[in-house]
């Protein structure tokens, strides 16, 4: 134990103290939303305003859930839709993007440069600006009001492919050559070498793909006309927009915000650990 402490340099001591203060400061919004979500109505109007909650209550969450069960679509339906959509999208994006990233990084073929140029170009186009053409295509395919309407647009994820191309091109080519000599098929190489070796990058894209899908309101608003097919993000957002300018609704809004935040946090914690583990133990350094 003592020897461990002796190894710590003054640089690290200063770094850790300054950094702890900074990190605490940066996470203030999260601490705030966590406290605000449990505040009873009367604590919102206190003067001077209190940052921390004094008498935590679950009422905000109750009213959030009860509010929906009075409506035609129960709260659990939104939750179910969100879970299905997020889960399926995450799996599909990982497989589809890694497959594309692998061949784009490691093989020469016709149209390769064109596809790469298109991907990098498309990184910068805001999807909001193409909402209407997208709607026309979705209804042309006849997949509005189905889960495909949620999932398929998310599969076109140039960010994920872009990142995987960068990452997979760092995997030494000799490794793939060796596998080929040992008689592995294309799919074998992909499943046994490329997929495991790119786990760090896959973990990273999982984090932001989930985040994007979970918080996405656009597909529910534009492509889903039936209320039963819409997701939790849409429901929370419709709550927030009504409460924006009144102090009295802030606690319910914070509760809804917390509800959107927690699954993101769980997914992040789940995959962040994988990122570090794979980085420390994998062969690519």
């Amino acid at each position: 134990m003592l020897r461990k402490f002796r190894n710590i340099t003054p640089f690290q001591v200063i770094l850790v103290t300054v950094f702890t203060a900074l990190a605490a400061f940066m996470s203030l919004p999260i601490v705030f939303i966590l406290n605000h979500a449990f505040k009873p109505q009367n604590e919102l109007f206190l003067f001077p305003p209190q940052f921390l909650v004094q008498n935590p209550t679950m009422r905000n969450f109750e009213s959030l859930i009860l509010h929906a069960s009075n409506a035609t679509v129960p709260f659990t339906r939104y939750l179910f839709n969100s879970l299905i959509v997020a889960g399926l999208t995450l799996g599909a994006v990982i497989i589809v993007s890694t497959m594309a990233g692998y061949v784009l990084a490691k093989y020469q073929f016709h149209f390769k440069q064109l596809i790469l140029a298109l991907i990098t170009l498309s990184l910068m186009f805001a999807p909001e600006t193409v909402g209407i053409p997208r709607y026309l295509i979705i209804s042309g395919l006849g997949i509005n009001n189905t889960y495909f309407g949620h999932i398929l647009p998310a599969l076109a994820s140039p960010i994920a492919v872009f990142m995987l191309v960068g990452f997979i091109s760092q995997i030494p080519g000799e490794l793939l050559e060796a596998a080929k000599i040992d008689g592995a098929s294309h799919f074998g190489i992909f499943a046994k070498i490329v997929l495991p070796l790119s786990t760090p990058a896959i973990a990273t894209i999982s984090i932001f793909t989930f985040q994007g899908v979970w918080g996405d309101v656009e597909t529910s608003t534009l492509f889903m006309q039936e209320e039963t097919m819409r997701t939790l993000a849409f429901y929370v957002n419709s709550l927030l927009s009504g409460l924006q300018n009144s102090v009295s609704g802030q606690n319910v809004a914070a509760a809804a915000g917390l509800l959107m935040f927690v699954p993101n946090l769980i997914i992040f914690l789940l995959f962040q650990r994988r990122v570090l583990e794979t980085m420390v133990h994998s062969g690519i350094k």
């Binding site: 919004p29 990184l123 053409p133 997208r134 026309l136 957002n237 980085m279």
Partner: protein, 324 residues
């Protein structure tokens, strides 16, 4: 090859065979690479359907006058001409605001993300996770969830947290209406955006830092690198170019796309006297309030051109020949 007496007669045929030979070779190569296209197909189909084709449709709309319901009229460059000659709000508000916002939040957020990622990397492994989480959490919560935080913090009365703090310190005499005052809105937007700028790019940098070969540092020390700053410039950054590039692209995109933030802060689609009006707000204004989709598409094409040049700059900085 051709030794006949009248080669001119044969030329068309040989040209045709040359094309056919080329086609055959092309086809053979396509067949040989079939598995490549098979691997690429699912992504490529979705990519074409939901990104390429919509973008082409939007770009064509830029040359038309279209309200979303009626018929399309081709009006040539009229949208672009009026954009640069008549649209006072675009020229005096949207462009300067976007440039100021993008210049501070883009490079500023990028440098901050790198500095903090590097500092986190210097910490002992066991505690790194907690710091990563602390910095990443605000951007993870996302715009919708955090808007309630900013609204409460910058509230215009004494109950607002920021006002209360400043009054307590004696730095201001009366509460300031932060979010409705044109003087402060853009600054608050910049602060808030910097706060949530530790997003995907930050994670990519952290991942990149771990792939740097440790032996390089020792080799560098032998070659005469003395300070940590030199280490960062000569070893760390060159070794993680792909991640630096990715992160740069992400911050450019994030900055130019930002626009929702002003609406979330003020609760209005158009900010007070256009003080927080960015190009994206201009697009939303014309597309979803005035339903002039043609004009809105022309504006978004301009935004696309701006970001293209920003992107070229990033590639000049971090691009290398092998990757991409």
């Amino acid at each position: 090859m051709n030794t006949q007496l009248a080669p001119s007669l044969e030329r068309p045929k040989s040209k045709a065979t040359a094309i056919r030979a080329k086609w055959n070779r092309f086809w053979r190569e396509m067949r040989r690479d079939a598995f490549v296209y098979l691997f690429l197909a699912p992504f490529l189909i979705c990519f074409l359907l939901f990104i390429v084709i919509p973008v082409i449709m939007a770009a064509t709309l830029g040359f038309t006058s279209y309200d979303g319901f009626g018929s399309l009229h081709f009006i040539g460059l009229a949208n672009y001409i009026s954009l640069f000659t008549q649209d006072i709000i675009f020229l005096t508000k949207a462009i300067p605001n976007t440039f100021l916002f993008a210049l501070i939040v883009g490079p500023g957020g990028y440098i901050l993300a790198f500095v903090f990622a590097w500092l986190i990397h210097q910490l002992p492994i066991r505690i790194r996770d907690y710091y990563t989480l602390a910095f990443y959490a605000p951007s993870m919560a996302g715009g919708v969830a955090l808007s309630v935080v900013w609204i409460a913090a910058f509230s215009g009365d004494r109950v607002g947290y920021f006002n209360n703090f400043l009054l307590g310190m004696g730095w201001i005499d009366s509460p300031v209406i932060w979010l409705q005052d044109p003087k402060y809105l853009l600054n608050i937007m910049i602060i808030v955006s910097l706060w949530v700028s530790f997003s995907v790019g930050f994670l990519a940098m952290l991942a990149g830092l771990q792939t740097v070969n440790r032996e390089l540092y020792e080799a560098g020390r032998i070659d005469g690198i003395s300070s940590r700053l030199q280490e960062v410039f000569y070893i760390t950054i060159p070794s993680m170019k792909p991640q630096m590039l990715f992160s740069a692209v992400m911050s450019i995109v994030g900055t130019l796309k930002a626009g929702g933030i002003s609406t979330q802060l003020t609760g209005m689609a158009i900010t007070p006297s256009y003080s927080g009006h960015l190009i994206i707000n201009h697009i939303d204004d014309y597309a979803f309030i005035r339903f002039e989709l043609g004009y809105a598409s022309a504006v978004s094409v301009m935004l696309l051109i701006f970001s293209y040049f920003a992107m070229r700059f990033a590639y000049r900085l971090f691009g290398s020949k092998e990757e991409l």
